[in-house]
Amino acid sequence: MTVTEDRPGDLPERTLPEDTAPAKEVGRPRRRKEDARLITGRTTWTDNMVLPGMLHLAILRSPMAHARIRSIDTGAAREAPGVVAVFTGRDLADEQGGLFTVWTVTPDMVRPDHPSIAVDQVKHVGEAVAIIAARSRAAAQDALELVDVDYEPLPVVLDMEQALAEGAPLTHDHLRSNESFHFVFDSGQAGTGANVEETFANAEVVVSRRFVQQRLIPAFMEPRAVVVQPQGDTFTLWSSTQVPHIVRTVLALTTGIPEHKLRVIAPDVGGGFGGKLQVIPEEVLCLLVARRLGKPVKWNETRSESLMSGHHGRDQIQYIDVAADREGNLTGIRARLLNDMGAYLRLVSPGIPIFGAFMFGGAYKVPAYRFDCTGVFTNKTPTDAYRGAGRPEATFAVERIMDELAVELGMDPLELRRRNWIKTDEFPYTTSAGLEFDSGDYDTATDMALELVGYDELRAEQQRRREARDPVQLGIGFSTFTEMCGLAPSRVLGTLNYAGGGWESASIRMLPTGKVEVVTGTSPHGQGHETAWSQLAADRLGVPFEDVEVLHGDTAISARGLDTYGSRSLVVGGAAVVNAAEKVVAKARKVAAHLLEANEDDLEFSNGKFAVRGTPGSELSIQEIAFATFSSHNWPEGMESSIDADATFDPVNFSYPHGTHICAVEVDTETGGVTIRRYGSIDDVGVIVNPTIVEGQIHGGVAQGISQALYEEAVYDEAGNLTTGTFVDYLLPSAADLPAFLTGNTVHAAPGNPVGAKGVGEAGCIASTPAVVNAVLDALRPLGVSDIRMPMTPERVWRAIQEGGDGGDRATAGSNAYGGAQTETTAGVSTPESSLGGDR
């Protein structure tokens, strides 16, 4: 167990001096080998690519949320200087195919056709309606203004609840309703737990709430970009994507270009957060235009284009009920969700809420469990994966309702959690949702986190501020979360009707000079796979870290792979690297036995050397064996001249990272401003291959989760225009707005993979949001505040203080009973000062 504290202004020196460094690579805080080129930008970002004769594409996007395209006049644009060609949806209608959704979450799921470029109708602002191909980017941009589109406006529906109402305008007029699917899981019906109706009917206490997961935009640092080079009947496509392998297969199916004629390369990619887990219309359009014109083409987007037309995330309305007895033992949880799909289903849109379907019970033992989710079409940008994908939504709901239940029961929120969570000796534990949680120690993580943040001292300060009626109040919030990651056991994906598998692949190539190439099917876009995979391979092969090169992201080099998302890369892809290394060692052992004229069983392998047990001096390194393989002059009879190996790993179970996050906030009750005072987390992500990378993932994830709680929201106006269309209005925090995070770990190796890792890519983002919201409410409950919609802007906080309850920002409040005196005081708060310091 380790705890590290950040010192602001004094960067912690994390690299151990060479002489005290552990012999093993795994566990070493190696600096990331890829960073110099990524940070300086001197690398192969897709937009850095320049090919001879390359044309630049600019895309005209619909300013209408729903309209029929009467006509498009491209005449003037065709005549503009530098313009080579202009295409509309009609021009490409016969060859564009339809974009794919690879997850059919219910047998009757409705999936409208989704052309890459609109032909007859547009369904959301930002949809492509025309493409200019020109000799320069500027010329293409200029010509966009010359295209004249005649739109006939159609009725717009933007609100999910309105969209489901009788007689609502239809997003797709050939469909019967705006409902895409209705997915239900019920523990009574599934036989995995108690009867839900009976549980709730007989419950001593039921608390019900309505929470809103606002719409978010992934906002990766590098905007999307695509380059296509046609050569005869083959095509090379570079894309700033998380999923080059998926892109290749899906594009082949969409465009009819045979898969073996299409090579996809994800060069260095500057972030994704799920926003690049997609096969984008622009990839299809670049291919089609390159094929038509027989010339290389490039498209790259502006930031406003990205915010408007890249897929969005979250956007879920949650009705959550919890049942318990008076002692605080949970008896049931019921979640009924509406999830906004936007205008179309994208690659895995309907699957996003389903990733959370089995996690609304969180870390707790919940005998009865029901999950019910309706996917809804509206005239907005489609939603799809965004960091955490389904699990932040579930974690938020359960961690928020635990606090509400604690208030209802008059219990300490942490005490209520302790009473209900799975105990260490109960693992592996099968939940009422049917999942088998592999391991965990929630008590230790929580005890450590309390100490890390100085919990008692914070509570004492909170009390002092309350008594002094300080205009700045302190609040403390918890999130004792667990999440499901390591996507995914292929067999489970099959039962959920996901089209693909969940395995990952790796190859290890031993070069003649003893250097090593590790080819991975994962596709890093900022996570540091080159460093971590090198550490894994160096340990297993016993070669120096510097002698390993990691290759990825090119379907011609990494032939098999399922790419990077869902905190899967180390858990599944790293495991494949380990398996491949084991195979290399096994082959090398045969060669060593041959060359050392010993029995294989008499060889021991350590630090990269085979030695004959009990015969000092007779040893051979794996790097020497690599050269012997190359020459093959003296080679075991019947063995292929290679010690290279391929391996695939398909997990048998998900992995379940967990942790305790504690947030302390200061709330300025006069302005409504919220400042994070302290943030501490203890995470169990299993075995840590590189502590610096793990810490970085937690930091970034926590920042993103805080950002959902306080800052970010994609807002549409009544006509369906994105009003948060630039970073002036779509607010992101920077380091200046966040505290120094206190982080630490407990380490319980994941039993399900040879690395022992559980996954860390999403943990911070999943855990932090409810901790922040719980903290703000903890500060304000004495003022009669019961809830505040996210993001908790200063204005919303201020209004909630003025008006009590939830500040009027919720369409339908759940049961508003908070127990004790608070029930009566919610309406009667006038000024903050007058009601501070009251009984709690």
């Binding site: 941009q141 502006t302 607010l731 992101l732 925090p733 920077s734 200046a736 204005e795 209004r799």
Partner: protein, 285 residues
Amino acid sequence: MIPAPFDYARPTTVAEVLQAVASGGEDVKILAGGQSLIPVMRLRLAAPETVVDLGGVAELRGVREEEDAIVIGAMTTHSDVLSDPLIAANAPLIAEATATVADRQVRHLGTFGGALAHADPAGDLPAVALALDAEFVLVGPGGRRTVAAGDFFVDYLTTALQEGELLVEVRIPTLAGRWGMHYEKFNRVAQAWSIVAVAAAVRTENGHIAEARIGLTNMGPTPLRAAAVEAALAGVDATDEAIASAAAHAAEGTSPSSDLNAQADYRRHLAQVLTRRAVRAAAGL
């Protein structure tokens, strides 16, 4: 995005600037630091025929002292302002407000004159200039004239600058007596524009407030002076109670807008809270 095509001139003297502006055609834009102009050109909300860049005009840059004022050249960048000893000594309010502008990158390019000429109601420097009774020196085809701060800010993004006219420098009159100053800005993240902000300059004499000047940022289409607060503060003892009761007048005569960050009533409330805080700090409480 890429701006629409435009002609570009980079003169080196004020006289050449006027010439370039006069001969630049229908729609000429002056480019200072470009931190407001370039974004609107890139979004194609502006498409000037000619851009006249002041970057090469050395005489427009720098701060000097005159008998009754310090004089800030229009092209003095925000970061120059932050490190200037004359400003620190005579008008620390300007430095304090400038430090809250955007981020380092923007402050290295954006200019004092550009920020005032742009006259964004959410910009931090107009209310400061107003509170300090700054004088704006303009040069145009008709010659040179000086405009008081109260007359310079005319409407939303609109100033007294006439077509073909150039803001060359801003005079900040030297203050006599014991002044305290404070800029109180409220925004959601560090690099964001003000939702509301208050610039306060307070002269104290023997424990009472002799004179107060309060400028309000983003409480209307132009920066405003909180006249009712100033009147209520004149002559009162510098106590929390007196300041709080004077600050309660902060929203009088304002017409704040409503946007994603704040409805008008919330802005009015913020103006009162922030005025109280700004005056307290300026009075040394």
